[in-house]
Amino acid sequence: MEGRVAYENDLNLKATELRLGLPGTHEEQQAVSSRVGNNKRPNDESDDQNETAPPPKAQIVGWPPIRSYRKNNYQPKKTESDGGGIYIKLSMDGAPYLRKIDLKVYSGYPELLKAVENMFKFNIGEYSEREGYKGSDYAPTYEDKDGDWMLVGDVPWGMFITSCKRLRIMKGSEARGLGCGV
């Protein structure tokens, strides 16, 4: 009986648990990323570090030593034989209905953002790694594989299209909160 409850704890109770916070934000095994701004940390098992363990692999700024200009410029392979696109839902705060777009059609962030701007007739502002999107009340965000809401543009394009589950254009104060100090 105890065992069964314990097993259920891992699945059912957690799913129905009431708590504050964005849906999907829970501890999970993460691959450590070396990019600035990606605050994922290893899960509980590796958290009990002791002196014998190697130095904790927290986010490493500037490693490997590739200029961000280069990192942001790599395009995913344009595989002609790959049937089917990557369709994701695109929502915008305040808009009555959602859209669906195929991420494969775009070769990079500029095209994607232009298309999104055209679809909803608004201006997205200028992206900078440090400050997010300046000059606009909107911030493009996406939900990634782990259920976290991330600012569009921080990771290389190839990584983005494989991890993006849905897109949401946030407006107003929520957007501004994401924009600063990420």
Partner: protein, 611 residues
């Protein structure tokens, strides 16, 4: 220049000797009978002769040496130096430089330390071009060329260059920032003699200014236009007209907003090009079935002088066969933005027999590198960049690719290789097969990663490189390294001038070995390695001979760095924090120190403290 500036005192004894000799020899000219006047006259003649002779000296090292011979030579050399190179803009002030050198036509300045490229310190650290621009405007109104690396350049500076230097001809900006398209617009518009505008890996802000349209009408003197790093749309029609009226244009590197269709139109107007950056190398929209595609093969065939090809920013590999026809003449090929496979590379590389410089992504895998090794026997420089620049990604290239290159490309001089796994065996093989190596930079992306076959540290591999490559001047190490690796470097790396260290070494001994063993060491950049104040002290005898030392996330303390600052008054010792940190504990996050003739700079931001 900064290297020998301290050694300005030199014995004037030669001067008298020379004058005496001249008098006895009854040399040229009449002059008056008066002995003093005659000797002054003859000194003048000798200086004129010297001036004419020194004009032939172009290498800065030769010139530095010549300036040390005696006061007379120092003076004449200063008068005749036309290209001024300053490796650290803070080592000397604009005032001192313009005071010593009277007739400079070309200025080459370097600013920020290289590790700033990787976000290791907050932006706005310094290296402003502005004070130099203003000083040059007063001192050298005939200035023709400016080459800046890692400097902060504003739109106003660009305007200054264009407006105050009437004969300005060449601007090269490498890894610079602080300006935008509106600055470019003013610059290209006012610079009527412009021959070269090269923007390389610089950050250009998009002020939505149509700068391409601002080139003046009429025939242009343009020989080189490089703007592949400019991340904004350009007015293509204006560009096409510009190319059409630039008969001397030899180098053109387009940004990724130029489609392959547009590239075609430019190429047929400029078949004389020697260097081409192709832009996106994909169509602006997906070409429909019935659309007539231009004859790209023909366009490339017409460019009979093409030797350097780059670009391919958003490549659609189907278009690659268009370049086959120029491969046989290529000496330089840059595929480092093209995510292509080995199979897509092979038909191209197999034709590139003359290739000397090759930059590529690791998407070609070890197999692709084997293909390179099989054909490119003249290869001098190879750079392999990672598509996925993370520590724990899959690595498509490994020791297999490195070994293959070492066996096929025996003339290799420079290599930059990013990988996830490596073995000592392959590195040792390269040290033996490629004795001409001058630059060896290996980046094993997983920190502290050992030889993946033996589990040993990578000490022996790097040791072999410094032992066998007798011409090595630049080295970057990575992987699991103990103090032994640095012992090797100290013992055998006698010509090493630049050393990059990250996540390596066990103790202070490692840094000591290097500082005590490498007499030619000029530039040392270290991050995340266990070196402390004691190690820092061991370099006191050498720091004045170095351009700079960078140490970040090591084990330095403030009072350790203070000691150095006290012991060496001509060293500027900067302690740099991350922007929002307050000055708290004794630990030093970043140390950046460099020799300087002018003491601490006055433009430090809040996060920099000079000890």
């Amino acid at each position: 220049m900064s290297e020998d500036d301290e050694r300005q005192q030199c014995p004037p004894s030669d001067l008298e000797f020379v004058s005496n000799k001249a008098r006895n020899c009854n040399a040229t000219g009449s002059g008056s009978g008066h002995p003093e006047l005659q000797s002054v006259y003859l000194d003048q003649v000798l200086e004129n002769v010297l001036e004419n002779v020194l004009h032939f000296l172009t290498s800065k090292r030769d010139r530095n040496a010549a300036s040390l011979v005696c006061k007379s030579w120092y003076r004449v050399e200063a008068l005749t130096r036309s290209e001024l190179f300053i490796g650290n803009c803070y080592a000397v002030s604009p005032a001192r430089a313009t005071a010593r050198f009277a007739r400079v036509r070309a200025l080459h300045l370097k600013g920020k330390p290289r590790f700033a490229d990787f976000n290791l310190m907050p932006p706005d650290w310094g290296a402003h071009f502005n004070p130099w621009a203003l000083a040059m405007a007063k001192a050298y109104p005939w200035l023709e060329k400016v080459n800046l690396k890692r400097m902060s350049v504003t739109d106003d500076d660009l305007a200054t260059l264009a407006e105050l230097f009437l004969g300005f001809k060449e601007l090269v900006l490498v890894c610079c920032d602080g300006f935008g398209t509106s600055g470019l617009a003013i610059f290209v518009n006012k610079c009527r003699q412009l021959k070269v505008l090269d923007l390389i890996e610089s950050e250009v802000s998009d002020d939505e200014s149509d700068w391409i349209s601002c080139f003046p009408e009429g025939e242009s003197h343009l020989e080189s236009l490089i703007f592949d790093c400019v991340e904004c749309h350009i007015n293509f029609e204006a560009l096409e007209r510009l190319v059409a009226r630039s008969p001397l244009l030899k180098k053109l590197r387009l940004n990724r907003y130029v489609s392959i269709g547009q590239l075609y139109h430019l190429m047929i107007r400029a078949p004389q090009l020697t260097h081409l950056g192709t832009g996106s190398f994909s169509p602006s929209e997906i070409a429909g079935q019935g659309d007539q595609e231009p004859d790209y093969v023909n366009a490339f065939a017409a460019c009979k002088s093409l030797v350097c090809l780059s670009g391919f920013r958003e490549i659609i590999p189907d278009y690659l066969p268009a370049i086959y026809i120029v491969c046989a003449n290529l000496t330089s090929l840059n595929f480092s933005y093209a995510n292509i496979t080995a199979e897509q590379l092979k038909p191209i590389i197999s034709k590139c027999h003359k290739l000397q410089v090759f930059w590529v992504l690791d998407s070609i895998c070890d197999e692709g590198l084997q293909a390179v090794a099989a054909t490119c026997k003249e290869l001098r420089e190879l750079r392999v960049f990672p598509v996925d620049a993370r520590e724990d990604s899959d690595g498509p290239v490994s020791e297999v690719g490195l070994q293959a290159i070492s066996e096929g490309c025996r003339k290799l001089q420079s290599i930059l290789y990013f990988c996830q796994r490596m073995t000592n065996t392959a590195v040792i093989a390269m040290s033996k097969n490629c004795p001409d190596l001058v630059v060896f930079r290996l980046c094993i992306m997983g920190r502290h990663r050992a030889d993946h076959v033996t589990g040993e540290p990578m000490d022996d591999g790097f040791g072999a490189i410094v032992m066998n490559c007798k011409k090595l001047t630049r080295l970057a190490v990575s992987g699991l390294l103990t103090d032994k690796a640095f012992d090797y470097i100290g013992r055998h790396g006698k010509l090493v001038r630049t050393l990059s260290v990250a996540f390596s070494g066990d103790s202070d001994m490692a840094l000591k070995y290097v500082l005590e063993g490498c007499p030619q060491l000029q530039k040392l950049e270290i991050r995340d390695s266990p070196f402390g104040d004691a190690a820092l002290r061991s370099g006191l005898h050498h720091y004045y001979s170095m351009r700079f030392l960078w140490m970040s996330s090591c084990r330095l303390t403030r009072h350790g760095c203070q000691e150095i600052a006290r012991a060496m008054p001509r060293l500027v010792v900067e302690v740099i924090r991350s922007a929002d940190e307050e000055e708290m504990d004794d630990a030093v996050e970043i140390l950046y120190m460099y020799r300087s003739l002018v003491g601490p700079r006055t433009d430090t931001p809040k996060f920099v403290t000079i000890l």
